[in-house]
């Protein structure tokens, strides 16, 4: 394995791992706030229990998000020192803002977790809202930084040196709005469907706590359905941006190999060498029509640039299809949700906990949001290759001169696999104990404020202690 490839793989593994926890950190606070808000409106104790449980789940995942994020902020320098030496001054600002978003999130999560009985209900709900908003903001800030790699602005290169730095222009680069919207929706859709799937599974298996799981399912769908419906629209917006700013990424995504009218290529296996597709269904002119309203409009294909400037088409094309495929399935499930809601309003059909085909669909759809998320990032990142900063700096020129990078790559990969297995195991054990089988309503109760905390006068800002017996 070459050092460059090892570095890219290590970056990919670290980000793919972190993004799962980051997304949960954006989605879960929104869910718990919705549950609490409903509780305050209706006074239904089941909803309070739900808010507390979701808060507890958020707590564990937050810790893994924090450590994996720390690794990333060092890895930017460990793996891509040249990139950071040039980019740091230009794009560091959103990262600094993100730092403050983390602080805010941590402080108010502490208040939220430990403050159920210490502050007024309104203030408590407000603390939850601050957690949710700062979580979403911290995601938006990093994505601005990532968008800048796709559409670098806010500086000039004079004699190979970055000058005329304008961090604000860099942060609000042309690619940022579409990426931020698409990413935020992705976080809500992925978390919403994942949570909905867990509760749908409980209902499908049969449980004595139907009211609990039903309430959970309703709230999760409330978040998942609108996001899943908006996601294809926002994806279309992203694709249009890519078409103008990164034509080769678009060509790789769509598997558009030769310049000319672009077909919609479904399935198959693009061959980068011979520039042909094997076994694909092609709808001639469809992409040209979508982008330019004219099926004969010519679009640049991969052959428009030399081999060295082309992204790896197979990976990008497949990943794009996986994302869009998952997006379509999720949108269809969302439409089904609306359709059966309408029917229920008119008095037809089974109530939610008894609608087995629908519950089955939810269980099946449960992981798809996360699959789309990983696939989408693969499209964005691999599709940008061979550039680390589009048209400015090549990935190969940015990599660290340190040799033997296979060693840290293998090491971190094993470490992350270990962590992932452990987290899954712990969550599953917790779920078996209390989730899918029985939900002892009222058992979670108050999260205790540790005595040491009061004695010390320090501030509780991490939830890790909350699960100690």
């Amino acid at each position: 394995m070459s050092d460059l490839f090892a570095a890219r793989s290590q970056m990919a593994v670290s980000l793919a791992f972190h993004i799962i926890f980051a997304v949960v950190g954006i989605g879960m606070p929104a869910l718990m706030v919705m549950a609490e808000w409903r509780w305050q409106r209706t006074g239904d104790p089941v909803l309070l229990e739900l808010a507390k449980r979701w808060a507890k789940g958020t707590a564990i995942l937050f810790a893994v998000g924090a450590v994996s994020g720390t690794v990333l902020s060092f890895e930017l320098g460990l793996l891509w020192p040249t990139f950071m030496a040039q980019a740091g001054a230009v794009i560091g600002m959103p990262f600094s803002l993100e730092g403050f978003a983390f602080f805010t999130e941590a402080i108010f999560l502490g208040i939220y977790l430990y403050g159920w009985q210490r502050i007024a209900p309104r203030a408590h709900l407000l603390a939850g809202i601050v957690v949710a908003v700062s979580g979403a903001l911290s995601g938006a800030f990093v994505v601005c930084a990532n968008a800048w790699m796709n559409a670098p602005t806010g500086f000039r290169v004079v004699n190979g040196q970055v000058t005329d730095v304008d961090p604000i222009a860099a942060m609000f680069n042309a690619a940022a709005p579409a990426e931020v919207v698409h990413m935020t929706l992705a976080a809500f859709a992925a978390t919403g469907f994942a949570v909905a799937g867990v509760h749908a599974l409980a209902l499908r298996r049969g449980t004595v706590h139907r009211a609990f799981h039903r309430a959970a399912l309703q709230i999760a769908l409330l978040m998942a359905v609108p996001s899943a419906l908006l996601q294809p629209l926002s994806g279309d917006l992203s694709a249009r941006g890519v078409a103008t700013r990164q034509p080769m990424k678009l060509a790789a995504m769509e598997g558009h190999l030769r310049t000319g009218p672009a077909a919609l290529v479904i399935g198959g296996w693009p061959d980068a060498m011979t520039l042909t597709h094997r076994g694909a269904i092609e709808i001639p002119g469809a992409i040209s029509l979508l982008l330019h309203g004219d099926p004969t409009a010519s679009i640049r294909g991969l052959d428009a640039v030399p081999l060295a400037d082309r992204p790896p088409v197979t990976v990008v094309h497949l990943a794009f299809q996986i994302m869009v495929g998952c997006g379509m399935v999720l949108a269809a499930v969302a439409l089904w949700t609306l359709w059966r809601l309408r029917r229920r309003r008119r008095g037809y059909g089974a109530p939610l906990p008894d609608d087995r085909p629908f519950l089955t669909a939810l269980v099946v759809a449960s992981p798809l949001g996360f699959v789309a998320l990983e696939a989408g990032w693969t499209v964005t990142e691999v599709g940008r290759q061979p550039w680390i900063m589009q048209d400015v700096l090549r990935t190969a020129d940015a990599v660290t001169p340190v040799p033997g990078l296979t060693v840290p790559f293998v090491g971190f990969t094993l470490l992350y696999i270990g962590l992932a297995v452990t987290v899954a195991f712990l969550l599953w054990r917790q779920l078996l104990k209390t989730g899918v089988g029985e939900v002892p309503v009222g058992m979670t109760g108050e999260l205790p404020v540790p005595a040491a905390l009061l004695a010390m006068g320090t501030v509780p800002v991490s939830p890790a202690a909350s699960d100690r017996p």
Binding site: F62, S96, P403
Partner: protein, 362 residues
């Protein structure tokens, strides 16, 4: 003050802010690592009580404490990007090892506390947690020590953009070991700083735990440990200065020349003595303040000793700073952020210290 002067001092302000947040990290995050060491060293009948006291003290705060480190890194790569690039290259190996420690410490701790089952799995996580707590501070200290003693090979200037050779084109004839291992591995000074860092964190944890201990027995345990750790810190500090005299003349000069250095030594000595006396007289809150002061003085002593160099002995803080716009913007962000965060911290504090809000759920 003219605009020129302001331009000149801006990088120093940012560097000062970085040392401040490193200071916060040492006082808050450092003690969390120290707690892990005491977890490993827990002995006697009270062993389990000691461990759960430590867990309770760390549990709710380690993540927030951890953000200070992230802040330092982000400020470094935004405001001194070239320095970040060079440090991350020369210290690739110790930083990577330190990161493994960071990951294992945080997640093992969380996993251990997440499950209520007291089984073998949980004990294993406990062991990983405490070993990682021990290794990570040493590596952190090694990195700082290597940097301070001027052993970072800063070979070439920034490479131009656009396919040009590497930023850090390997200086000819340097072997892998010369470039990536010996600067830190072969430096007794760096390892002395590593040991001192570990000692300091351990000492801080013991001093804090005396205040937090719920029972007289536990308090006595940590009082004894704080005194022992204090002795170790004094010895390690002396050894470090001794090695500096032989091996790191720059640091040694910084630490021994001039009035400010002298004043710093004086404050450190007063804090150390205060801490020892306070511990002996069971004035634990005072001891905690003194311990924190002592640790801060040591940190600022290091910072002062390498001033005005960022990467001694070749590159100053000013030389490596990002353009002025970036620094100004980051400082404004820091200002606005602090304006939001401070009231939030106060609110949090008042919420949990009682007194402030009196909401009472009947």
């Amino acid at each position: 003050m003219s605009v020129e002067e302001l331009t000149w001092t801006l990088p120093h302000v940012v560097a000062g802010v970085m040392v401040l947040s490193l200071n916060a990290y040492v006082l808050l995050g450092g003690a969390d690592f120290g707690g892990g060491v005491w977890d490993l060293l827990a002995r006697g009948d009270e062993r389990d009580a000691q461990r759960s006291l430590i867990a309770e003290a760390i549990g709710p705060i380690w993540e927030a404490n951890h953000v200070w480190l992230i802040l330092v890194v982000v400020l470094l790569f935004t405001c001194f990007p070239t320095a970040y690039a060079h440090l991350a290259t020369a210290l690739h190996i110790p930083i990577t090892l330190m990161l493994v420690g960071v990951v294992l410490r945080g997640s093992a701790f969380t996993f251990r506390s997440y499950d209520s089952n007291r089984d073998a799995v949980q004990r294993r996580w406990g062991r990983i947690f405490s070993i990682a707590s021990m290794v990570t501070p040493v590596l952190l200290g090694v990195c700082l020590g290597t940097m301070a003693s001027g052993r970072i090979p800063f070979t070439t200037a920034l490479a131009p953009l656009g396919g040009a050779p590497h930023v850090m084109a390997p200086a000819a004839a340097l072997t892998f070991a010369d470039r990536y291992l010996w600067p830190w591995m072969g430096s007794p000074f760096a390892w002395a700083v590593g040991a001192l860092t570990l000692g300091l964190f351990t000492f801080l944890a013991a001093a804090y735990l005396t205040v937090e201990a719920p029972t007289p027995v536990l308090r006595a345990v940590f009082r004894r440990r704080a005194l022992q750790a204090q002795a170790v810190v004094v010895v390690l500090a002396a050894v470090t200065i001794g090695i500096a005299a032989l091996q790191a003349p720059l640091v040694f000069a910084g630490l021994t020349e001039g009035r400010i250095a002298l004043a710093m030594h004086l404050v450190t000595a007063v804090a150390t003595i205060t801490c020892i006396v306070a511990l002996r007289r069971d004035r634990f809150r005072l001891a905690r303040v003194a311990a924190a002061t002592e640790a801060s003085c040591l940190l600022w002593g290091w910072a002062w000793s390498q001033f005005p160099w960022l990467i001694p002995p070749t590159h100053t803080i000013t030389a490596l700073a990002a353009p002025r716009v970036t620094l100004t913007l980051v400082l404004s962000v820091l200002g606005v952020g602090t304006a939001i965060l401070l009231p939030s911290f106060v609110y949090l504090f008042r919420t949990f210290k009682g007194g402030g809000s009196s909401f009472n759920p009947s």
